[in-house]
Assembly symmetry: C2
Homo-oligomer: 137 residues x 2
DNA sequence: CTAAGTGCAAAATGTTTGCATACTT
DNA sequence: AAGTATGCAAACATTTTGCACTTAG
């Protein structure tokens, strides 16, 4: 659950570079593995999985579970979009797959409510609202 | 995606009985398998998986994917309960992994708000709130 | 030098499928 | 009799782990 890398290794830099090159795009662990398999400098799959976990813990990428059977998706998080003052909620369309980013005070109230009434401290970074977007309804 | 059973078999009746006996409780496919393994009249796991799919399609049980790695959860849906008041929201503790299910009108307001203000039709079955539970904060 | 990182292959997990047999209608 | 349902074992896909080896600090 808590794994951050401490060494700056070639593999970590390559992974970071990969994610930085595709901001706002979802990739699966398999996508990453395939990409590096097709490069001359490849990375073992366990290393990829281990780094994905670290990068999530470090807040550099985000992990989404679209549904139970398909593989998890990862997305690069731009460093300056992470400030507390602009909490960003995510809505994912179950049909077209579109990811919508919302900055909304009323949604922040959900967190306050969960905290006050149910003793649950919401993590807006990890929580994704699933449903249907405007076009797909 | 569309599989409804047409025959009334012993196995189907046993499964139905099992779910009706534990309304409002989440069970995984594995839980169901284990339960029936400990009974003298057991059911094969493929049969269980196939019936779970049918029962979901028939609206008799609901399926939740809490996160990508843990198994899907199933819950019996009481036939005569008016749906709107029975919407169940899920909170998952990121630390201890505890799953809390809430039936809360104020959370329903989130769906209304997303719909009205953001044109997004929330799917409460699929959406899981991540955060920290009372004990882990 | 030492702790951390790597990568292979194997294990673990949860779910699905092929197929011969048994059951419902 | 005809078409489903069953259940075993094997296949599957994704992710995790054990362990010997390498590397960063």
């Amino acid at each position: 659950m808590n794994s951050r890398s401490q060494y700056k290794t070639k593999q970590r830099e390559m992974l970071l570079g990969y994610f930085e090159a595709v901001p706002g795009v979802h990739v699966t662990a398999g996508d990453v593995c395939n990409y590096f398999k097709s490069q001359e400098a490849s990375i073992g799959q366990s290393t990829i999985y281990r780094h994905l976990e670290s990068l999530v813990d470090e807040g550099i990428i985000q992990k989404y579970n679209i549904d139970g059977n398909s593989p998890a998706c990862f997305e690069y998080v731009k460093p300056n979009s992470h400030k507390d003052t602009e909490i960003c909620f995510h809505c994912k369309c179950e049909k077209c797959g579109k990811l919508i980013h919302l900055r909304c005070d009323e949604l922040k109230a959900v967190g306050v409510h969960l905290n006050g009434e149910h003793g649950f401290q919401l993590d807006p970074v990890r929580t994704v609202f699933y449903g249907l977007c405007e076009n797909c309804r």
